[in-house]
């Protein structure tokens, strides 16, 4: 199978995480031929791809062109990481683009054709969306193996809380009153931040169904957290998706 990895505007983490598979990467290479992976290789062959992985948000004209290319030349497109699936932190910056440019660069001129950062899923149809800032690297390993073997990949649809229970971590929301977004965030990270005795900051994006952000908001408000503080916290990785 022919594989391409395309990076739009982001921190590089979701592309880098693929390299962090180490020896497992060599296992994948038994099924995949890497035709483009610009962070890791100077090799590039622009023909049809079986699988294109896209990370990052669409934040400038260049990103849009790269994304269109990846979509048009591939059978399967994977939006990888919360930037690509939900917009992640840069998607959460509020305000008009020209005002933001002025504040950062001292000019309203948009010579480099910046766009408001938006997730990949808002521009093109994707076949798989794997969130996480970054995702757990074993998830992409599994997804690529499933695709290579023609197995239908499993989607995670349970909250981080389930993974706390499985690991027997003390609930930081109930026991310590920390603002933990575990109940409304989709699991898959093995509740790694709660292992550090800290509240989940929601980096895997909102739980797709049965989430109750309004209930969570109420609980945290009753614990004494400021509404504006909570509003921003809820928005950080999810743009406008969580409503309450």
């Amino acid at each position: 199978m022919k594989l391409g990895v395309f990076e739009l505007t982001d921190c590089g983490g979701c592309a880098l995480n693929i390299l962090f598979l180490y020896e497992k990467l060599f296992d994948l290479l038994e099924f995949y031929d890497i035709k483009e992976f610009h962070m890791a290789s100077s090799f590039k062959e622009h023909d049809h791809l079986d699988v294109a992985i896209v990370t990052g948000t669409v934040s400038c004209q260049r990103d849009l062109e790269v994304l269109r290319h990846a979509r048009n030349y591939s059978n399967y497109l994977i939006a990888l990481g919360t930037c690509a699936t939900h917009g992640s932190v840069q998607g959460a910056v509020e305000g008009k683009l020209r005002d933001k440019l002025e504040k950062v660069y001292g000019t309203r001129a948009n010579t480099m054709k910046a766009l408001d950062p938006k997730p990949v899923v808002e521009y093109v149809a994707v076949d798989f969306a794997l969130p996480g800032c970054p995702y757990d690297k074993m998830e992409i390993y599994q997804l690529l193996l499933d695709l290579a073997k023609g197995v239908e990949p499993i989607k995670k649809d349970y909250p981080v809380c389930i993974e706390c229970k499985l690991n027997e971590y003390e609930c930081v929301l109930v026991k310590k009153g920390l603002p933990c977004l575990g109940p409304i965030t989709v699991g898959g990270c093995n509740a790694i931040c709660v292992k550090s005795k800290l509240g989940c900051i929601g980096c895997r994006g909102p739980l797709p169904k049965e989430a109750n952000p309004a209930g969570e908001f109420e609980i945290l408000k009753n614990l004494g957290y400021d509404e504006e503080y909570l509003r921003r916290k809820f928005k950080t990785f999810a743009r406008g998706e969580l409503r309450w």
């Binding site: 962070m39 290789s41 669409v58 959460a92 305000g95 480099m112 910046a114």
Partner: protein
């Protein structure tokens, strides 16, 4: 005529360059950072200080801990908080993990294919599998430290103002201690490999670094100056790049592994010091390509220093106590050495603990002007004597020597 260098490969993020040639002579070189802007300083405005280091981590995955720590230091300085030795050492250990992870990524996976004539390390592995696997082992070890200290290989949230969420166990520290010895052999071999690389790129007028080896209270420069960044470093926006450009006292300067060795070699650990002395003459020539060799020496330094830190911590025993923080109005700067050089986070915070001003300057932005100068000088030297493909390849190698981190470089603000 404009010679276009398409998007750089084997670097982090998306950048391009163009070399302008008039009447057969190289006139100018421009480095264009085409990665979109990420508006981080705006993201942090109005946010509660406690959450800010986790957001700033997302600036860059390769050096997320450097961003978290610079952020934490800026916040602690704003509140006038000092942390005890245990926390300082654990922070240093985290930064060492990051140096190991980042330098080995750069040296083995990004630069080595140039030396051995391959488009990437994966294809290089068929003939030189041992070297690639040694690099991966160093990288995995660096990441293990990042996970222990930072909470996750990438974007962990364990680093907090006043301390940590979770402190490492003795077992985890002992495991670090054991791996250091085993990996030292690989790091020494890296020094031998990169010592053979020919020199290219420009020679900077000054080197700039933090006053401690991996973080500090002020910046220092090779002319002996000890200063705050706003005293001597000037930034300007460019019409053709999402990254700004900086000068030190009006001159082009460098920051990174080579700069650290040039201004702080007196702090090196025994074997690293010996290797530095052995290659001092070459390093002192100052070409940016020597940054690769300097990084290899820092792999050795990092393994030796990690061992020292771990043994001190194990001797004293881990107490695991955070310093309590009371938010109050203040202003603070955090200076940290990211693997690729000086990283600055500067904040003002109000009495409720919310950020009112934030300024971030990253090493790639600090090196932006020198990167252009290096391309210019390299192009002048080679243009007309070699074919165009070779020239382009050479120019890309020149950019790569900076180990640029483009994602980091695309967001700056002064409010």
């Amino acid at each position: 005529m404009i010679l276009e260098l398409g998007e750089f490969t084997r670097v982090e993020g998306n950048g391009k360059a163009e070399v302008i040639i008039e009447n057969g002579e190289v006139k100018e070189a421009r480095v264009k950072i085409v990665e979109g802007p990420r508006f981080f300083e705006l993201l942090t405005l109005g946010r509660y200080y406690w959450d800010v280091p986790d957001l700033e981590a997302r600036i860059c995955a390769i050096c997320y801990l450097a961003h978290s720590f610079a952020s934490v230091l800026g916040i602690e300085n704003a509140f006038g908080v000092k942390v005890p030795e245990e926390i300082q050492l654990l922070r240093e250990l985290g930064l060492i993990g990051e140096i190991l992870e980042s330098h080995s990524l750069h040296l083995y996976l990004l630069v080595a294919p140039d030396l051995f004539g391959y488009p990437d390390a994966i294809r290089m592995a068929s003939k030189h599998g041992e070297i690639v696997r040694e690099g991966l082992a160093l990288k995995a070890f660096g990441n293990y430290i990042r996970e222990v200290i930072g909470g996750r290989e990438i974007h962990g949230i364990n680093v907090k103002p006043g301390g940590f969420g979770r402190y490492p166990t003795e077992d985890e520290l002992e495991k670090i201690d054991k791996s250091c010895d085993a990996l030292l052999r690989f790091a020494k071999r890296a020094v031998n490999i990169f010592a053979t690389q020919e020199v290219f790129g420009a020679v900077p007028e000054y080197h700039v670094a933090t006053d401690g080896y991996l973080y500090g209270e002020k910046l220092i420069a090779s002319d002996g100056e000890r200063f705050d960044y706003f005293e001597h470093i000037e930034e300007k926006s460019l019409p053709y790049s999402f990254a700004k450009q900086s000068h030190y006292k009006g001159s082009v300067f460098m920051t990174g592994a080579l700069s650290r060795l040039m201004v702080k070699s007196d702090r090196l650990t025994p074997i690293a010091k010996e290797l530095f002395e052995q290659h001092k003459e070459k390093l002192s020539r100052g070409y940016v390509s020597l940054n690769n060799l300097a990084q290899a020496i820092e792999l050795v330094y990092s393994l030796e220093r990690a061992k020292e830190i771990v043994s001190t911590l194990l001797d004293h025993g881990i107490k695991g106590e955070n310093v309590p923080i009371e938010p109050k109005e203040g202003e603070g700067i955090g200076y940290v050495e990211a693997p690729r050089g000086v990283l600055i986070h500067h904040y003002r915070i109000d009495e409720n603990g919310n950020i009112t001003y934030s300024n971030i300057i990253t090493p790639t932005a600090l090196n932006h002007a020198l990167m252009e100068l290096s391309l210019y000088e390299e192009a002048r030297k080679q243009y007309g004597t070699v074919d165009e493909n070779f020239l382009k390849h050479k120019l890309e190698e020149t950019v790569r020597a900076f180990d640029p981190c483009i994602s980091c470089s695309v967001h700056f603000v002064r409010l």
